[in-house]
Symmetry: C2
């Protein structure tokens, strides 16, 4: 009894909530996807940069784009010198630190991209992880909206390279300045109205979920949801509400039409007019390069992150329908977004440094590519190794030699390393998804032969009835012997089937 007590495991093996392990299929698919994104970004002149996972807490600041997520959502700890460090919560704040620290050395405008995990210390939920991957591209040091237009076109090219068909996605563009102009025209300018403007911003951020009617209520008297909870409204006048709603619905048949409507919506607001000019320039650049065909579209309904960004805002959205796990139709929606932001680098430099950037949510994009069976996620590479069985323990060096020959020929192969018998070894080979097993018992050895067993054909054979006309032929192909020196050749034949 004491013995079995000693055997009791001392620690429970459990992954902390909100974190995930990844197997070979997901790793390979992610790598192929990232490689395709990298190649597109490189083509656009962006260059790779990598910063560490850890930064000084003060360097990260309180710059989470979504203000509903407080800074407490960051994992922080002290080092051996008792300085506060944090795990990065996005890839933008570390980039700002990097640019500021290496400002004189960097050729500007600085186009860079980087991919990696970021961390959030918050309650995980379905599809909400505490470690997740982002893939960012940013242009720092350019005030020209040509930089924004370029990133929008790059996002479109990236999606197509990943196998998303034209028409199945759109890169939507909006501008914070236009919204500011609309608010000004609606009589909401000035310091004293900041709180009201914030309520308006948050209200139109819910457009997707509540529709124009719901947003109208939030801009006016307030809204009671199904559960009976009441959200206080912005108490705007009817004319102001209609101006704001008109702005969000200003999308026309083409970009020129949309820009024209926006010019009306901002009225005499100078800031608003500046925003409209910027959108017009982006539209012109995209149209001139052929992206105005629905790939890059001015859409004032895009409001995600408008609270955070200071100029153009853009979002890449997938339009096709897929099925969720329960078979219900669903849309993936946004797979990336970004915009122009000021102040991040300025925190370190004391002078404004214009910048614009785009961030892809890697796992959501991967799920979307899996849903459309993107050709870049080809599963061929995931075939398991050829497994050489160990029939006689004292012949291990001989089996090892078979494996070495296969590997030297570029064939993925391994010798079974466990202690089980032949049936269990074949079962192992099946579980490894091995294309075939190589078998040499004493009989075969004496004849200088090896037996090759095609495991895919073997599975078919097991399912087939013996009445099949070609049953014998099938059986012969599923398992056959060749002389040892023809091992590689025979295995290659099976791999080619």
């Amino acid at each position: 009894m004491t013995d079995s007590q000693d055997q009791k495991p001392s620690v429970k093996a459990r992954l902390p909530r909100g974190l995930a392990d990844r197997g070979p299929a997901e790793i390979a698919a992610t790598q192929r996807m990232m490689q395709a994104i990298r190649e597109t970004y490189e083509l656009y002149g962006f260059e790779a940069v990598e910063t560490p996972f850890i930064e000084y807490t003060e360097a990260l600041g309180k710059f989470l784009p979504d203000l509903d997520r407080p800074n407490e959502g960051v994992f922080s700890f002290q080092d051996d010198d008792e300085q506060w460090l944090s795990l990065r919560y996005d890839l933008t704040a570390p980039l700002a630190r990097y640019v500021a620290e290496n400002y004189e050395r960097i050729a500007k405008p600085y186009r860079s991209y980087r991919a990696g995990y970021v961390f959030r210390n918050e309650k995980p939920g379905p599809g909400r992880f505490r470690q997740f991957m982002q893939f960012d591209a940013d242009t720092v040091g350019s005030a020209s909206v040509a930089a924004d237009a370029e990133i929008c076109m790059m996002a479109a090219d990236t999606l197509e390279r990943l196998g998303v068909g034209r028409g199945d996605y759109v890169v939507k563009v909006n501008n914070r300045k236009v919204l500011d102009g609309v608010l000004e025209a609606a009589g909401l300018a000035g310091e004293g109205r900041a709180a009201q403007r914030l309520i308006v911003l948050r209200a139109i951020d819910k457009l997707d979920r509540l529709g124009p009617e719901g947003v109208r209520l939030l801009l006016g008297p307030g809204r009671k949801d199904e559960s009976g909870d009441f959200t206080k409204g912005a108490d705007l006048a009817a004319s102001a509400i209609e101006r704001i709603i008109a702005f969000t619905q200003a999308r026309a048949a083409d970009n020129a039409g949309t820009v024209g409507r926006l010019a009306d919506a901002v009225g005499a607001s100078e800031r608003g007019q500046e925003g409209v000019r910027e959108l017009r320039e982006i539209a012109d650049l995209c149209d001139a390069a052929g992206y105005g065909d629905g790939r890059v579209t001015i859409d004032p309904a895009v409001v995600r992150g408008l609270e955070y960004y200071t100029g153009p805002v853009y979002e890449a959205e997938l339009l096709f329908e897929a099925k969720d796990e329960a078979g219900r139709p669903m849309r993936f929606g946004s797979v990336g977004g970004g915009g122009r932001y000021d102040g991040l680098v300025a925190r370190f430099r004391g002078e404004p440094v214009p910048a614009t950037g785009f961030s892809v949510g890697v796992s959501r994009l991967l799920a979307a590519l899996q849903a459309i069976k993107s050709p870049i996620l080809d599963a061929q590479a995931l075939r398991g190794p050829v497994v050489v069985l160990v029939m006689d323990k004292d012949q291990v060096a001989r089996y090892q030699g078979f494996v070495a020959r296969l590997r030297a020929a570029g064939v993925r192969a391994e010798m079974y390393l466990g202690a089980a018998g032949m049936n269990a070894q074949l079962k192992y080979a099946d579980r490894r998804n091995a294309p075939c097993a190589v078998i040499q018992g004493s009989n075969e050895r004496e004849k200088g032969e090896v037996t090759i067993r095609d495991l895919a054909l073997g599975a078919q054979l097991a399912a087939a009835t013996k009445d099949r006309a070609d049953y014998l032929e099938l059986r012969q192909r599923a398992q056959f012997s060749v002389s040892e020196d023809r091992l590689v050749e025979a295995v290659r034949e099976v791999l080619g089937r």
Copy 2:
């Protein structure tokens, strides 16, 4: 004055000590190196797995191989549920958690590989980082030393694939059981002698640095170093000391010879004899597969990690000399190591699960490959983009169109996005390592032409004297005009030079 006060940077941009940013050249070189390692490991039947950076602190345990580094060397923090979490300090402890948690689902023996950053909360120093990358391969669930032999051969193949020539490296193999046997034969068996054995282990761990004479002192009366510090010795009898030293020097001309000497060194110790049998089996397997030619060598002087491992131990060592930064000859030495360990998975499962693994120090290996100018680190991919200059701000859409055509043809290209004049734009192109610049001022535009400037040739030209016979021809090749529709063709010609 108030204004300039407002502009004062609020935060200093600084990377915490012991952490590093990485630029495009290092990132690309690392990726190519990792890809080559992955391909070799896949060929051996290993499959990828990835675990998160964060684990429950209790799941990581106190398993740092080097006992001089206490558990306090780990970055730990609490999550929103006040549970203690830690950043992984190696890739082995998370693998153990993963295997234990998914034990029934995994086909065993389980060959897997994984690469990623690990973190140590300790004083950084030269070449000692708080975030660094490891590349591990492990076989879990096989008690057969064929698994160890396989990993040793795989390490050899990996180095050759990375461009390290045969003869420029060796994979050395030792066995903890043999050392235990030698200690037993030297009269150091039993519970009461554990502390003394630990001193002995640490003493022979310093063999590289102190040589046999220094280790003799540490095994005997103790040793005073140059600074006058005295290290207490193990106070062994002379015969015990000589037995231990003889063990460390037992390497013979070939593996069979070495194994023979080790059989003598362990005397009647059963555990020692078991270790010798294991080494003989490894040597036989490697010899049979052709790796006994100096690629995989039994070497009892390998003691790194012997304190931690429970059976075979192996280490991949580079033998060539390189120059350090000061031009002095230096050796890279060990670039990876590993061995057989028990207990890690057992902590979770309550039953022993045999395992053996190998870990590569990625940055040291990369430095070594850079020193030998390994062909896999080809720098060609790091050529910058073609830069299209902006000569007239109102022609930006036109320049954007040039860039779009180049990109569509697969040529890395960008339009200059800053606000500077022509000279600064050319300087920018130089700093980006651009192969050429594309220029169209109003003159060229009226003629429907573009000017291509070969920046490499341009630099040569600037350095050349005008007396050169081919000066004019060179100048013509360095900068020439073509009609707009021949843009891609002309750029390709320059890229091909």
